[in-house]
């Protein structure tokens, strides 16, 4: 099996906020990330597929097509957006990168043909903070 990764990026605003808690409780748990007026990041997304190279093309999957799928189903929904208020698949979720990476997985996995498998997502919030997700619980 070969693993192939496409890297994309998007810039967005968000805040960490649990609507069940008071403003003070949110401040205690999320600190400056709870700023009511938002803050933002340059997010970087690594999408890794796995499969066997197709004998006709040599590709596990056409990365140009993968880029198009990521753009249509992920980055066009997230880039230069407010993740808390403008993104349908994040509605009613706390806007952490943990929840965001699961949301992105659920956007992408139905779009891929059966001959390849979505292996991993790596989502950077800053150059120093990232999450990885391999699907499942």
């Amino acid at each position: 099996m070969v693993y192939i990764t496409r890297i994309e990026h998007f810039n967005a605003a968000h805040k960490l906020f649990n609507p069940k808690w008071t403003k003070e409780e949110n401040q205690v748990v999320f600190g400056k990330c709870a700023n009511e007026n938002w803050h933002g990041h340059n997010f970087e997304l690594h999408v890794t597929l796995t499969g066997s190279p197709n004998p006709e093309t040599g590709f596990v999957f056409d990365v140009k097509k993968l880029s198009g799928i990521i753009k249509e189903h992920v980055t066009e929904k997230l880039d230069h957006k407010n993740l808390n208020v403008e993104v349908d698949f994040m509605a009613d979720k706390i806007c952490s990168i943990e929840n965001l990476v699961i949301g992105i997985w659920n956007q992408l996995s139905p779009q891929l043909p059966t001959e390849v498998k979505l292996h991993a997502l790596k989502l950077y919030e800053t150059p120093r903070i990232y999450v990885e997700y391999f699907g499942g619980k």
Binding site: A12, N37, W38, G40, H41, H80, K81, N82, T126
Partner: protein, 139 residues
């Protein structure tokens, strides 16, 4: 030959902003600023490089004490801008569009007051890995 050195301190802050000119209508703002005009804001990981140029102090061997420079940047820039909405939370941008150019200008003005006038100062501000500005201009 000049005995001047350039020393650099790198810092970062994360903030939301939007580009908007209140003198224009929505359609004009959208046309000029595109997706950066989104009324719900977007955001960046800003990376700031502060360059200080001067001669070495013979007593310390420093152009400037980097720890002091770090504290000045922290107090006068990062505490104002980190995890903030530049348009909504920062008085500096009440009447100034928070483009990378204007953010660099504001940072320069804040730091210039805090650093010995015998030392030259230049700001490089990265809005993304691919977009960055410098102020003042040098060739």
């Amino acid at each position: 030959m000049s005995n001047k050195f350039s020393v650099y301190r790198k810092e970062h802050f994360n903030a939301a902003h939007r580009l908007n000119n209140p003198n224009w209508d929505d359609a004009t703002n959208q046309k000029v600023f595109g997706k950066c005009n989104n009324p719900h804001y977007h955001g960046h990981n800003y990376e700031l490089i502060v360059k200080v140029v001067g001669e070495i102090n013979p007593e310390t061997g420093y152009v400037i004490d980097m720890k002091e420079l770090s504290t000045i940047i922290d107090t006068h820039v990062l505490e104002h801008f980190d995890h903030k909405n530049l348009n909504e939370d920062c008085i500096e941008f009440k009447d100034l569009n928070p483009s990378a150019e204007n953010i660099a200008l504001v940072i320069f003005q804040k730091l210039r007051n805090q650093i010995d006038s015998a030392l030259d100062l230049q700001i490089r501000l990265y809005e993304t890995e691919r977009n960055f500005v410098e102020y003042p201009h040098t060739i």
